[in-house]
Symmetry: C2
Subunit: 318 residues, 2 copies
DNA sequence: TTAGATGGTGGAACGCGTTTCAGAGCAAGA
DNA sequence: TCTTGCTCTGAAACGCGTTCCACCATCTAA
């Protein structure tokens, strides 16, 4: 494979001139430009991006850390990220962690080793202060409320407030035993939601109903199975993912329970499935969030921390 | 940031020795090895992977082309790919194409520009012969039947035969008007399925029912809406994705149709949702396919073309 | 006429780890 | 004693594009 020096020799110019032609630098005479282009065409010259990366000190690659891609939440987030990547002529390395710390560490090391220019962390187990230390090697952005943090950018929605709003809404509609379903118990978003729930329970005492480890449609059945074991059952559920909400709704129907009469359901995300199944949900602009995350990692954002608005979409499950 | 030469100077050795220490080469005296390690620790030395890539001529990065990540089929495929990537100390660049040729071209160019060492193409619009020409720049693997092709590896299932089997199964069960739902009309897999359907129709003439552009759960409703417009309706559907099958099943229930009495459904993939909703389905080892694709792209496969077995899982929708 | 752009060009250094090769020291086998 | 053959070490070349800097030629404004 020909390199820039070969081209220079064949075209009878210096490597600098070839480089200039490649990068559309103005100070090249038409004559030489043409000569270089002709040679490049003849030998089918292709720049070696690795060499460009080494020389420029950046890879034009962003790392994206997600626990799993299968989930529609992260799928949509990646969708937004991918869109911005295309627009900015970047590509991204996907790191699926399954919430294993080693995988997250790998991503941080890639940043340290200059394999990637920046890192978008969509969800993580390694503690934020540890992550912060890697900010010196490249920009890091997280999709959770990291406001107050100076070195890490963040794009997020207010999960505390949205939970509070949702709980108040259900209360107002007359539900007395409200529970919630969430994915993993730990993590920033879960923390804020739990905080809101605790606060709600403090204000309006009732039995606590929390169902964890719910990610997919089929987990809806699991939740209903757990509920059927309870003597005192919830009459409303806040479900932090529409697909799980859809699964719960389906399980309810299979068990001949009436929704919302016997069980009210509020989903989150406003995924297409929520519309199709007429599920009341909190719309979270996930794809936009992905896009904003990308803007941040490129340093194109004005504020370090950005909160996105979410709003309730009232449909038939409350 | 310190580089290998700085380390060498500080430790009083040559760069070669430092390189040897980094790469665990045996021919280094304990004394020097220790000296080098001490210095590396002191200055927090980190190898520059870009430099390694340039030097070795490979990036340890694989490109993965998918039309969209949101879909559980590709989600699972990526899951398998990610698993093998971890095991082989590789990472991958995800290229979401939305079936745009420019995106696919970008992926091919990355290979040409040595940004990636190989390419896994899960679905594509650019024709295979065009893709083939890029094989000279790195290994390319596709997840469709490319047998007979010398330069491109492939991992696939026999969609023709599975469709034939499914159609025969429905016929045997007494269904008379069998149709099918598919994602996009074009593409290799769709082609083989169409071929099988045509052949079936030739053997057992009936009205043709084909529903295209069905990818997600919510598209199930769309299919049922289309069917409700027909005067002559199908009594059985082959649905090339379990999530769509689940959506159709849900739409059927909402319309108070009995499944399988009024409408039989066979899904594909055997996703968890199929189990939960008791959907008869063809199990396709998607994650395994992802893993095999990765093996192939690393050149670790014995045969260029690999067919994976699939089998029918009989449940309640037929 | 002169100082100061502006256009055009190339040599050489730079980014940084790997690898080849030559050479030295030393021990085991012939 | 001589030849192999291993262990250990480092200089230098290599992979390849970018960029700094020096330099020449024109041309313009003072």
């Amino acid at each position: 494979m020909a390199n820039i020096r070969d081209i220079a020799k064949m075209a009878g110019v210096s490597v600098t001139t070839v480089s200039r032609v490649i990068n559309d630098h103005p100070y090249v005479s038409e004559e030489k430009r043409k000569a270089v282009i002709d040679v490049m065409r003849k030998v089918d010259y292709q720049v070696n991006r690795t060499a460009v990366s080494l020389s420029q000190g950046k890879s034009h690659l962003i790392g994206v850390v997600v626990p799993f891609v299968k989930h529609p939440y992260f799928g949509l987030l990646i969708e937004g990220i991918a869109k911005q990547a295309v627009e900015n002529h970047y590509h991204f390395v996907l790191i699926q962690t399954n919430y294993e710390k080693e995988r997250e560490q790998e991503a941080l090391d890639m940043l340290k080793h200059k394999q990637i220019d920046g890192l978008i962390i969509c969800s993580h187990r390694i503690e934020l202060p540890t992550i912060e230390a890697y900010q010196q090697y490249g920009r890091i952005v997280v999709s959770e409320n990291a406001a107050g943090n100076k070195s890490i950018d963040s794009v997020f929605v207010d999960h505390y407030q949205s939970f509070m709003d949702a709980l108040a809404y259900l209360k107002h509609k007359g539900y007395k035993r409200i529970g919630y379903c969430i994915g993993r118990e730990s993590g920033s978003n879960s923390y804020f939601r739990q905080l809101a729930y605790k606060e709600f329970l403090r204000q309006y005492p009732q039995k606590e109903f929390v169902f964890t480890e719910n990610y997919y449609f089929e987990d809806g059945q699991k939740v209903m199975d757990e509920i059927s074991e309870l003597t005192e059952k919830p009459d409303a559920l806040l479900v932090t993912s529409d697909v799980v909400a859809a699964g719960i709704l389906t399980a309810c129907k299979n068990a001949h329970m009436r929704v919302p009469k016997d069980m009210a359901i509020i989903g989150f995300d406003n995924q297409p499935i929520a519309k199709m199944m007429d599920i009341t949900t909190f719309e979270i602009p996930i794809a936009t969030m992905g896009e904003r995350l990308f803007q941040h990692v490129l340093g194109k954002a004005i504020n370090r921390h950005e909160e996105l608005a979410i709003n309730l979409i009232e449909r038939g499950t409350v």
